[in-house]
Assembly symmetry: D2
Homo-oligomer: 297 residues x 4
């Protein structure tokens, strides 16, 4: 089927390719002339036959919001917008409302799989009305991995449910990565273990802990044994933070997801003010030696 | 090749079957007459041609220790014992020493895969001397999953390294399970999500969080939606505790593994003394209402 | 000086008493006829000489908001409102704005001390303009504990700073209580310790861990050895949740405050869905026995 | 009464002074000639009238063990040894056994208070037989803070109970320090807060979180606003590690003490291997930019 696709970055570019390989007609828009198919959102709307379907795949937050506001202007009655970015699920209902005022439908779609999705397919979690989702199913079926639809696609609930499920997915992802990281650190710290890389490789088949992320870590360790070339400084993209915030709202204890989020915050600190305070306290009550900051350094 | 196998429980029984299917001659011993091939350890030793290889697959701790002590009596110069149970790695060097005094070799083998190993193969992490391990390689190659040896088998280092790697494997396993558990709880708590089961099913393909454990949780949720029939009461078998203890020895921070371990302890408490104290404190300073234990109940 | 006081609950009632003992003229309003001095907010405004100062001490959230909206109607140019409740600091700027439109000033005041404040004085953290705070200083000086003003009172910053400081105070309080709770649980679990109560009593003097909360826990343990009469079920009043949320906004790792918050959530669960999932997983991969929910029970 | 005191370091030196001020006759031994009263342990034994009481106040571990072994040689029937250091409680029973073979009694004493104990008195937690403890009570009564004996002294149970109680005391201390550290970091991160130091000062009186440690942190912040001169690098002296290990043995969940311990481990890492693995994973699946280690640096 025909699809407009706004945003041809790392994700959108690959999705256009996978969709075209699947036989769909994709008209892509991106501000970068070297990748775009049309010069503007208005041109995108013109290039599509009504009723149109436009998939938005741009950074979450203001860029997504502005894109949806702009689409509300160039699209019309009967058209449909899909937000496939990592928007916070609380933004979906307002976006659906805003578009509904123009007779435009809305679906929120969580898309997982990263750069590997092009070849392997994307895990999809969507929220919206049955009819809207039914209409876009040929697109979803091409994007998702081959096999049973239920294994790589879910209509999770009404508008917002797709992004909520994707947010939780990413929260779980944070915790899984920390788990594998802790395991690696333990193996690397114990002198009996000759080669932590080989252990991670051996875990890729037959073990209880095998997983896609586990395979990727084995690969990363093969490519850079000891991870000598990579810093522990780790960004976070919003969804880990939102997961803990929603957990608080829902009164769900999430110690492992929260620990993973805090570990990222810590990874970006030069020195920990909390630990400076602890160190100062030890010095106060016990006369314990503390490390002074060198003035000359 | 020929192998003696002591312990024909959940794991050993299946391993005997997989090894026999692989063309090996396995003589099994177990105290239960209905599963054993020979009536005693002495009979096991008699039934094997020297130099013998005997795989011990019994509960870790005293039972493993006693079995190894008994084997030291019935085996002799040039024989080899493999401890495939979940022994603490610190017990391996003493066991190797004890056997070495009789000229008997020792390998520690961590075996992962649970009840699925029979069909899919077992992930193996072994410790010991190169020559000993080379000698048993036909057995390892049959037990491990098909494919590249390095993907399901590792000679992790000297005696102790196999069980250390397996201990870390199980520590990571604890944390992975908690991560998926927290994700499930979040999905189940949010009313937008129509069916947490369907989300877990959809994560099995294409997503970043897909894994063998994730598939198993999806299966468990299909079989018992809402997990209505299962209690959160969760045992722990030693390796999670040891992982945190070794982390402390190695000064490795393991917040997510520790959180997972503590969550198991909590799951087995009727009421938390820590929280009784917190509740008592709130009552003391704030006059906050607290829940009194009913006397009549 | 003269002060209007709205809200004569557990906190407000005691504060009125302490202020009157300190020589101030307090006109209190509360919907409950048995404690109120005036029948309505309008009557309260009438009873005070302009320029008036009115202290609001009502439940945070909608009740505080509605009270401030109502005060904006009955107060006027030059008057001053103090929100002494546990409002989220993000609500302070809007309230200040709303009042400013009528020429009314605003101070946010965090008040600590619970039921003990009447006798010992209240720890005060306030936010607002210098001039406004100077004006109310006689009230603050009576409410706070005797001694150096800087030891029990702080002008923490502009509007919002007082409630922010109080929120952090309460977040820290959560973590302190958990720390003492964990210590109690350890003492109670170890059979060498004859009487955990006596240990807590002995910590009240001379030790590094001595504190006001520690004394209160010793008192609670004296009154109810073993805490047999109290349940671990523990409410949370908002500020612990907000502290973790603000920590996320500020990218501050707060593992111990978050652990304390999650422990409260857990204390209110019949069974943990996270642990049900973990238990289900163990059953799936290991054939481990799990506790089934009794149907007949 | 007369007392031998072995170890005149930071703690022992002050204790000798406090005991002498209390009217006791203290004979101190220390390898450093400038502080010792006698040249050797043998001379110490000679200087004391039988039956002797000798207080050992040396670093825990091998030094304490060797000291007790040496004392077993120079003391005799009816004498009594007190281990006042931070020994692991599991070492107490063997030490008691070893001394008992010579007819020498043993008390384990946990001593809290740090450098402040000289002036304020030391919190004491002791383990041993009633008769032994009764015999040393005049010493305990001088060392402990003035006031009710039960407020600064506890006979916690048989041999080992004193050090167990002290170990838990220090575990709680770790968690309290982290709690105050997190609070400080939050205040310092929020721009509304003009002066985190002033907030900590204001918490010293009237608030729920006031404590001795809290006062010390306020003092440290006064002396070094922003803690600019102190590094977060923080050692740990054993008791935090032991507390978590004992918690695991006793199946007591201690998330806040464990988090505090792990934070110390982290404070001593240049970069976190766990976070290097997480960073590597993000790079693998998402093509996320990572910080490379500079080669030229």
């Amino acid at each position: 089927m025909q699809l407009g696709l706004v945003g041809l970055g790392k994700m959108g570019f690959n999705m256009r390719e996978r969709l075209r390989e699947g036989g769909h007609e994709v008209v892509g828009f991106d501000p970068r002339p070297e990748v775009t198919d049309v010069p503007s959102l208005a041109a995108l709307a013109d290039a599509l036959a009504a009723p149109r379907v436009v998939w938005v795949m741009v950074p979450s937050g203001p860029v997504t919001h502005d894109t949806i506001v702009s689409l509300a202007e160039v699209l019309g009655e009967g058209d449909l917008v899909i937000d496939g970015g990592n928007s916070r699920f609380t933004e979906d209902a307002p976006h659906a409302e805003l578009l509904k005022a123009k007779g435009i439908g809305f679906i929120d779609a969580g898309v997982s799989g990263g750069v590997w999705g092009l070849a392997e397919g994307y895990g999809l979690m969507v929220g919206g009305d049955d009819a809207d989702i039914e209409r876009v199913m040929p697109i979803f079926d091409t994007l998702r991995p081959p096999g049973d639809r239920a294994d790589g696609f879910v209509h999770a609930g009404p508008v917002g449910a797709g992004h909520f499920a994707k947010m939780v997915h990413n929260g779980v992802e944070y915790a899984l990565m920390t788990a594998y990281g802790e395991g690696y650190e333990l193996l690397a710290a114990e002198e009996l273990i000759r080669d932590p890389q080989a252990v991670y490789q051996a875990w890729t088949n037959g073990t209880v802990v095998r997983s896609w992320l586990q395979q990727l870590l084995a690969k990363a360790l093969r490519e850079d044994p000891g991870l000598a070339e990579i810093s522990g400084y780790t960004e976070d993209s919003g969804e880990g933070r939102w997961t803990v915030e929603e957990a608080i709202r829902l009164r769900v204890p999430v110690p492992s997801i929260a620990a993973s989020l805090f570990a990222r915050f810590e990874s970006r600190q030069e020195d920990s003010p909390t630990m400076k305070a602890v160190s100062a306290l030890r010095n106060q009550f016990g006369g314990h030696a503390v490390q002074r900051i060198s003035k000359s350094g």
